[in-house]
Symmetry: C2
Subunit: 585 residues, 2 copies
């Protein structure tokens, strides 16, 4: 039985109560959410339900989080719609088939990344970029749902076009739909803000009140369905409803994508994979920390990969760990993934017997559910913090959000990735460099611009506070050449590498060239405080050979060497030895 | 007259002889090269000639190199062809118009980058990636020229397709063309390898012999033209020749691209701009160093930008500083850009009066010139060095070269840029981390795995040898949490930041979260040896506030603090104080 997950092999009866409660509560959240997110993804409602059964079980067997709730989520649904809309008509059987294959490709990618232990890939997206992406997506999603609240038909490929279409379509607004949509929105917003307080006042415990708040969408669904069904508002007032949802468990089937489909879907699948993984791991991580549990990114890849393959096998679409349901699952006392398995069983029951109940469910209520859910994803706090701490991070956040809203999710996230990396290179490409001298009577060396220090005539001692690589090596070289041009008396260049953690091939080439050029001019090039791993690699290179005897453990030793090979220091008027290296005293 | 460049205002009569000789020799190289590279770019021969007049003068006025030879070059010609072939038929007037606008867009980009002082942009490409790109391009160019040597028509969008086409077309090979092509190839290759030695033997100076070798292409051009003209081989044996080249100086004209064209050309123009700039600056830099001169990247941007705008104004196509002609210019004794101006004047003379001479010039000879020129661009030395020094750099070189050959120049260079950045992030995402202890009787702290050091019970002192940012912050956090799980007696986490040059927003968030989580568990989180600039930014953040009194100047102070707040060190059997932090003794 060792193939069973640890939590199942060591299951304690005392955990059952929490898992049962959490499973039940999450199911009540999951029913409207899975229908709503399928609508957001442009898919028939049953696809959302299918994606809420087997994937949960697959994750329960392989994932590492005890409390993550896997299933359809808002951002992955938006990305699915964005990937598939150019390829097929939303809701068509081709469209559904592509969604299934998107899930399969993403699942296989996750499994491969997991097998190759590439969990660290998730960290290639900086926090500001993810925050900008999620915020931009939330705006895009919310604006896209407004048409359901108004009951009009609007097509638009970006936010501005959609907004213009909505304004133009305002006269066609269906009054009954608008009333249902706006009242649901108000109910959900007020419930989120005030329901818990009210419940506490009437004697609920804080925890129970908080959990009941999460059930508000279900209340809206039941009330509005009853209303529409009672008055046949779909026929009499044109209220758009979910309609017929096929009853019965999903059929298991595997359809492999052909090369054309693979060519069209690999990039969107990769982006869904990365974003879904990052979102999911960060939720799982933050919940695990609260209970001193650990998340293993590589096992998460396997868990989410299995969930997506299972989704594809059972006619579902891309799934990942969602924020809101996971938090509720945690708060409702889930101890193990058994809570998820219970949810899955309940969802299977719903789809096997109860889909008729959704016939009169108005789209406007689902749209209201989505809008309220995604507004909580809009993250201005990170923007504010980044703005104060690091302007370039704040700008990449804004650019990503703006990119998503104006160019769409794919271009937006690619903008973000490029910006993440660009900002990183930009930062490291302007290293802090300081010409240093000796603090009199010590073996300490400090910036000659900030401290009264001794220098050795003819010696340029330069400390560079960054690893050396392609984006900054030439800047260092240029700076040294500039210092040498400014002060022709310099004969000895000492590079202090205490902050150099790496030297890449480009930088090695630049340093080799610099050493050759200095030697040719009769000057000495030396290094000090080179770190062990850097020195290990340098040793076998041409530069390493040429520098034999000129790599010093400490700046002190290097100064001693430079002094022996030059004239003695000259005291200046203040009694300190301050010889103008690069003219700055 | 202060608008004149410095070299002109301070011109010394003694410089003239060198400039004249160099100008003449470069012209003799430039004539066949400009015709050949125009052919490579899919342009009529006169466009190559136009690109060899005004651009040189423009660079002479604004550039910073004394010896760089600007004009048509192989790689930019290939990139031009690759950018324009999807948009218009090679050689058509639309195609020429697009080439002119490509030059204009690239020129404006260079000028804007120069005005914004973005010269450092060139450093965003690592040396291995540039080497891989140039090598891949050289292979692509050489294979593409084989059809001219065989005298057959072959279309192919990548190397394999072209090679397959060549094999299929072998039976159509034109014997006369093949003889001319192969004998030119052999002549040029043999001349390059042996001519200088022969000339030295018959009494030439080494320098003169070396320069005369560079004139071999002109000899091949003259001999083959005479042969074809004498026997009218173009008519009798189907040898493809240059044909009519319009006589007369280029007309000055400015045609601005419309939005559609701009949309099609901006990315190729940007890539040509970046690659051309990098190539040019590295040539200029290496020549300048030999004479103790300096190159200013930002002035190079202006000089090359002006050259490209001038090229566009006079009906030319993208130009940059080329390797082979610059080296010859330097070796022939060019002292100032006057050498280039002399070249430009001679080229103007050629185009004004002598284009009739090119009528019988066979394409096969131009192809042979190109093939021989680009084989010297194939750079296996960098690959070999990178392979020994840094496997990941070697792999990105290979991937870029392979990308260029199989996917084309644009996809190839984009692959390269992404790999450059990816390798950088990958490296920094796996920082070296060491748990440290005190060297007995000192204030030095070393890795507990490598040295016999004292530790303080309950204290985890971790040094991280990398700046903290989005790609490694979570890895650090995971590592700390793992160490804490492994040794539950730990109560005090000290992070030593001596090698941390930067902390980005993502890492700040992770550290803040870590501090909160440790505090919540009753543990202490402290920092030591935080660099000034990093501390300046931390101070105003939530983390900075929470860490008040727990940021130590030295690890020694931090150890003192941790000792005061814990039990005294326990001596182990060897007499050293070695308390199992994370179980590793």
């Amino acid at each position: 039985m060792s193939w069973l997950p640890l939590w199942l092999r060591t299951y304690q009866p005392t955990w059952l109560a929490g898992d049962l409660t959490a499973g039940l509560i999450v199911t009540v959240m999951l029913i409207p959410q899975s229908l709503a997110y399928a609508m957001l993804a442009g898919l028939p409602p049953e696809v959302g339900l299918y994606a809420s059964i087997l994937p949960i079980v697959a994750y329960a067997l392989l994932g590492s989080s005890m409390t993550l709730a896997v299933g359809p989520v808002a951002v992955a649904s938006l990305m699915t719609a964005s990937a598939l809309q150019p390829l097929a008509a939303a809701g068509s059987s081709d469209y559904v088939a592509l969604a299934v294959q998107l899930s399969l490709i993403s699942g296989v990618m996750l499994l491969v990344f997991g097998a190759l232990r590439l969990g660290f890939l998730a960290y290639f997206l900086s926090h500001p970029v993810i925050s900008g992406f999620i915020t931009g997506s939330a705006v895009l999603i919310a604006v896209g749902q407004l048409k359901y609240i108004l009951g009009v038909k609007v097509a638009g490929s970006d936010v501005l076009e959609t907004l213009a279409g909505l304004v133009k379509a305002l006269p066609q607004t269906q009054p009954a739909t608008l009333v249902i949509g706006v009242s649901s929105l108000l109910f959900l917003l007020l419930a989120r803000r005030y329901l818990a307080q009210c419940l506490i006042r009437v004697g609920c415990s804080a925890k129970a009140a908080d959990l009941m708040t999460k059930l508000a969408p279900m209340v809206a669904v039941i009330a509005s369905t009853a209303l529409v069904a009672g008055f046949k508002l779909n026929e009499t007032a044109g209220v758009s409803v979910v309609g017929h949802v096929p009853q019965g468990l999903p059929q298991l089937a595997l359809s492999l994508p052909n090369m054309t489909t693979l060519g069209q879907l690999w990039l969107p699948a990769l982006l869904i994979t990365l974003i879904g993984f990052v979102e999911s791991v960060s939720v799982a991580q933050s919940l695990a920390l609260k209970r001193q549990q650990r998340i293993e990114p590589n096992r998460e890849l396997l868990g989410l990969g299995a969930a997506n393959v299972a989704s594809a096998l059972s006619g579902g679409y891309p799934v990942t760990g969602g924020f809101s349901r996971s938090v509720v699952n945690f708060a409702a006392g889930a101890n193990t993934p058994l809570a998820g398995v219970i949810s899955a069983a309940l969802m299977a029951l719903v789809i096997a017997a109860l889909t008729g109940l959704f016939h009169y469910l108005p789209h406007a209520v689902l749209a209201a559910t989505i809008i309220v859910a995604v507004t909580s994803l809009i993250d201005l706090k990170t923007l504010k913090e980044a703005w104060h701490y690091d302007r370039s991070d704040a700008l990449s956040l804004l650019a990503t959000a703006l990119g998503v809203v104006t160019l769409g999710v794919e271009a937006g996230i690619l903008t973000g990735v490029v910006l993440s990396l660009g900002v990183l290179v930009w930062r490291s490409s302007h290293p802090h460099m300081a010409v240093v001298g000796r603090v009199p009577g010590s073996e300490h060396f400090r910036n000659i611009k900030r401290h009264a220090v001794e220098t050795v005539p003819g010696l340029l001692a330069l400390r560079v506070d960054e690893s050396l690589f392609f984006a900054n090596a030439t800047i260092l070289e240029d700076y040294i050449e500039k210092l040498l041009t400014d002060d022709p008396s310099l004969r000895y260049v000492l590079l202090i590498c205490s902050a150099v953690n790496q030297v890449d091939t480009t930088a090695l080439g630049v340093l080799t060239q610099l050493e050759r050029s200095l030697s040719a001019r009769g000057m000495t090039f030396a290094l000090a405080e080179v770190k062990g791993p850097v020195m290990d690699r340098l040793r076998t290179t041409e530069l390493g050979q040429r520098l034999t005897g000129k790599v010093f453990l400490s700046v002190h030793e290097a100064f001693e060497h430079a002094t022996r090979s030059g004239e003695p220091p000259v005291p200046d008027k203040e009694g300190l030895v301050l010889v103008g290296i690069n003219g700055s005293k």
